[in-house]
Amino acid sequence: MTQVAHEVTGSSWLPFARRRAVRFLTSLWVLVTAAFLMIHLIPGDPVREALGMTASPDVVNARREALGLNDSLVTQYWHYLGGLFSGDFGTSLVSGTPVADLIGDRLPATVQLAVTAFLVVVVVAVPVGVVMAVLTRGGRRRGAELGFTSTSVVLAAIPEFLLAVGLVSLFGVALGLLPVAGRDAPGSSVLPVLALAIGPAAVLARIVRVELLSVLGNDFVRTARAKRLPARLVYVRHALPNALTATLTLGAMMLASLVAGTVLVENVFAWPGLGSTIVGSIQQKDYPAVQGIVLVYGTGVLLVNLAVDVVLALLDPRSTIREA
């Protein structure tokens, strides 16, 4: 019987990889299709909206023709997909430059912001959550528990753009320590990263604590203690990996929302990334640009989720994720 179990485990990787790849490609297809349909779901004529009421019908029609909007939907979809494969994201209605150039120009700044903030979140939240769980396990140190939960709740409740404004007025305006706009000055990423990271770090630390506390009640933790392992090993080696499923799931969501948070924070700090671009593009009704940026954000998030699922499957030998 255990022989069978062993074989099942060994061979569950291939179906998992296949299934996960299918899901990734399906999601990507849904994303691309949604981005394509977005323009067609807009009531009225997007080109007219973009060029304004004063534009002459000929100009509008010429632009529609140039964008291929006068073709049948199927033809447009086909062209759109073909364009994406060759790296063509369309042309901006406002500037007339290729959207791909715009994305290539702005993406690195956003990635830099998001990745740094995520690293800060993990590096801060996991140790803090673990330490707080250990300190407050079994109802110890009620005061510390109250202090931690209230601090984390307060920090998590402050939206990142308010935090950003607060940081600007404190460190930028009042103390004059750090630059508050752009990304050229040294240290210019400190405030945006902090604004992005503080809230998610508070939430993640709290989740890590709750999860770890529930793991600490398990029999195998008692076994680890019965082996007289040093406390460090009991918590880090035995308890923590079992608390990671929920933590990672939430962490992935957090990374996604952190990516979205860049939109707000970039607007406060005039950070030259995709986030400030998409808001401007929406306001200017530059639909091809919005379409392209939505695609980039969506794909990025899909890749993050793929990575997390693979990590979860690696961490979970019972293969509940793989077989789910």
């Binding site: 485990t9 076994t223 082996k227 007289r228 040093p230 969501m253 939505v294 998030v301 979970d316």
Partner: protein, 629 residues
Amino acid sequence: MRALRTPVGLASGVLLVLLAALAVFAPLLWGSQAGAIDTDALQQGSSADHLLGTDALGRDIFYRVLVATRLTLGLALLATLVGVTAGLVLGSLPSVLPRWAGRIVTSAVNIAVAFPGLLLALFFAVIFGTGTIGAVLAIAFAITPSFARLTQTLTASISGRDFIAAARVCGVGRFRLLLRHILPNIAEPLVINATLAAGSALTAFAGLSFLGIGVQAPSYDWGRLLGEGLNRIYISPAPALGPAVAVVLAGLAFNLFGEAAASAAGHRQSVRKAPKPVSTVESPSGEGLLNVRNLRVSFPGAGGWITPVRGVSFTVGQGEMIGVVGESGSGKSLTALAVSRLVEHPGVVTADRLEFAGKPLRETSQRELGTSLAMVFQDPMTSFNPTRRIGRQLAEVSEVHQGMSRKAASARVVDRLKAVRIPSAERRARQYPHEFSGGMRQRAMIAMGLMGEPRLVIADEPTTALDVTVQREVLRLLARVQEERSAAVLLISHDITVVAQTCDRVLVMYAGRIVEELPTAELFTSARHPYTTALLAAVPDLETDRDAPLAVIPGRPPEPAEIGVGCPFAPRCPLADQRCREVEPELEQVGVGHQVACWRLADGMPSLEEATVVGGPAMAGRNGEASGE
């Protein structure tokens, strides 16, 4: 509403009620002031007339913030309600639906969850045009997939646990399984996240309005007021600060209330002030490997301290095999945990003497305990770490305590697995616990104890979770460990026959005390405590009448909190008299290595025969009434 009993829960609850009241009454009371245009007071800062200043049309921002409560809260709650409900339904569906349908739902959720809320919001803003409906939909849809995913993940992780498997095997239906077993166990993270969702829906709206994509003029919510104020924050901070504080306060109220509700749902007990435990007196060591004198284990309870182990004394000699029997709740497992120093806060262990190998236990180093005191626990399913290979879990004992290299430790693991007769030990060492059968896991657990050089093996109900043949193998293995390595074994069991088969001496525990101690050889001939004889009488043997109901001891053992004066067994004892009910008897020597705590024996009253005749059949009531108490 247990959440309201904590200060935090109360404060946030009051805040929520205030916000609700504002939402209902503010537009009625101050609606006209909030809309009043005053061209003489445009863009003013904070003043006595205008607490938070005025906006571009000279309208008072303070009143506008109060009035905006209704729209802000309403929209946030609407979005949360829609989102959480949809998420719970979507997340639970896969565990109720047929497998293929569940898969479709799961993949749909997984596709949807990929897209962060703001991205969705922007997407919908493009389609619907910027506005309130688009924002509500966007935020609801943003909550839905993540909530569904969380429900799914938690359900999946809880579905791997034993009690779900057990319920499933017992034929519990899918809906019942979901409602009775799964959802209650994942309620806490769900509640935390639902309130977080409400808080974040509120701030998300503020964010959208700040970007100019949420609520549109002439309507206004806090977010929109904030956006208007942010433009001139460097000139006058009050117009931005007011709505900002409102957003933060409301977000906090939701979050704190959620936290309080979650801890109430988790039944976390508040701990009362601990009385000072009796100080531990360490007297010089005596005979034996393990010396325990007057061991007490206490826990804080609702009405003061509860003491499930009340003054237990015994000695385990070198290489001796001692059995501890008693019903569940008799304190035998806690005794084992206390002896191995594994009782955790808030439990308090005291003893006049607690010595292992001639030294007080509290002075024994972790290294020495780790190598010379081995533990075997009841449930081999849950006692191994599910995420680590068996071999690694065994090897770390040698790596940590004996300073072995990884390679040397692995070699020792294989050797020890062979010693407990696990076939193809090399391959087994690389497997995870779930790939082992129950009996094999328990043998691996014993092998883990053998990684060191155990002088004492404490086995707490090691065979309870196993079937009878496997049970015998494990007991034989323990006996072999005792013989070959001259290790002492403390075997704890609720089953007196298990103990009788293997042990040299038996300790019978009842209500946190030892009531009888005697050599196993005398168990069936000269056991004298009415409880021991009742336990023996309850064991069916070859001569037991198969047609009669199984013998049981009427009544139930007292809860630790219920123990009052007198002998705790008196309410169930056919021999009990007035004295038994008033004063608790101490252990008295009645023979060589034989002690009994019973007044009626010390009185010289009932002989063994009398106790068995009177006590046995009468207590082991053969009719349903007696056992039904």
